[in-house]
């Protein structure tokens, strides 16, 4: 299975641009996971943690994000957040 192209962008910089297995995004109406080949989708996000699973079943990386929105299109997932802080 192909990987999901994932980008995390803040106004200050491009935080992450990677090919990963799955990303769990804290949407306003609830968390949602995005795998490769997800249908086009757009949601605003609430303040919370973004979980990045690099491999299937592997440990998740946690990035705290604040305010913004996520867009899924045929190119992958783009998260536009106002603030993002990588933990540890």
């Amino acid at each position: 299975m192909t990987d999901l192209h994932f980008e995390l962008v803040t106004p200050e910089k491009l935080v992450r641009s990677d090919d990963v297995h799955m990303v769990v995004v804290p949407g306003t109406d609830g968390d949602f996971g995005v795998l490769a080949g997800h249908a086009p989708f757009m949601s605003t996000i609430r303040n919370g943690d973004l979980l990045i699973h690099r491999t299937a079943g592997g440990p998740a990386e946690r990035i705290a994000i604040e305010g913004g929105f996520a867009e899924v299109n045929d190119k992958g997932l783009t998260v536009l957040a106002e603030k993002a802080s990588v933990e540890g």
Binding site: E7, V9, T10, P11, E12, K13, L14, G27, T28, D29, A39, P40, F41, M42, S43, T44, G67, G68, F69, E71, N73, D74, T78, L80, E82, K83
Partner: protein
């Protein structure tokens, strides 16, 4: 002709000025590199946001009840000019170029019978604008404590501007800043930020392939209402970043010129000093010789 001592004094004074301008040039060059890097780092966000806005705007039918930030207030009477300048001078024509652009726009608008207000970001535009358009400055955002532009400040400005918009303070907002092209060229730029202007090509042409049914959560209009204020903050942020880079670029060029001019001046003064010194020696010799002959 100036005395030797006076010339020496002038040479020394120009030399110490040259040291200062040289140091300022180096500092500006270092800061420019940083400002340029952060201006570039901010680009992806602005570009993506623009793309998303365009695709949303083409999908959401904008009725008269649509978000006011997109449709406008329906009037065109009161204009707010947001003028971004720097807090420090000695940057060549940087600040005066921006202020001149804003002034031209304000004069044109006033000639059409519109009301113009100013919202200033940074300290340097105030004096000129306060003199030309007294009582028309609604607010000045103090940036003197900010070392490096961050998004929080842009957000604070955007919130204040939107607040004024919603309470009917103005109908149209324009943003003035200097776009950075190179260390030599900074272009004063005017941009309308409220109501939001969609480039017609972006909103009418279907984006390739992505025209498939997109699901929106919570809903298209909610997302758009959430996005519009954010977009304004991003535009202001971008203007501030560009401005920061332009300011340093402009200062670097100005200080480079000043250093060169000081060098020329030192050369000229040194020649004059040497000539005067030789003339003095010659006069002294002539006096001695003619004195000896007279005996």
């Amino acid at each position: 002709m100036a005395s030797l001592k006076a010339l020496k004094g002038r040479i020394n004074s120009v030399k110490s000025t040259q040291k200062i301008t040289k140091a300022m040039k180096m500092v500006a060059a270092a800061k420019l590199r940083r400002a340029q890097a952060s201006a570039e780092a901010g680009r992806p966000y602005a570009e993506r946001l623009q793309a998303v806005m365009a695709s949303l705007a083409s999908k959401v039918s904008v009725g008269p009840e649509g978000p006011k930030l997109l449709t406008g207030t329906g009037k065109d009477d009161t204009h707010l000019l947001i003028v971004c300048t720097s807090d420090r001078g000695l940057a060549g024509a940087f600040n005066s170029n921006i202020v001149r652009a804003a002034r031209k726009k304000a004069d044109a608008l006033q000639a059409q019978g519109k009301t113009v207000y100013f919202y200033l970001v940074g300290r340097k535009g105030r004096a000129v604008i306060a003199r030309l358009f007294p009582k028309q400055i609604v607010h000045q955002y103090d940036t003197s404590a900010i070392k490096y532009v961050n998004f929080g400040d842009a957000q604070a400005i955007a919130e204040e501007v939107i607040e004024r918009y919603n309470s009917g303070g103005f109908d149209v907002a324009h943003l003035f800043y200097a776009r950075f092209q190179s260390a030599l060229v900074q272009e004063p730029t005017e941009q309308q930020i409220i109501p939001v202007q969609m480039s017609p090509s972006a909103s009418s042409s279907p984006t390739s392939g992505a025209d498939a049914v997109v699901e929106y959560e919570p809903g298209e209009e909610e997302i758009l209402t959430d996005l519009l204020p954010r977009n304004i903050a991003v535009q202001i942020f971008r203007a501030m970043l560009e401005n920061a880079a332009s300011e340093q670029g402009s200062r670097m060029t100005a200080m480079d010129n000043a250093t060169r001019n000081a060098g020329d001046m030192i050369n000229r003064l040194s020649i004059q000093y040497n000539r005067t010194r030789q003339a003095a020696i010659t006069t002294e010799l002539v006096e001695i010789i003619s004195g000896a002959e007279a005996l």
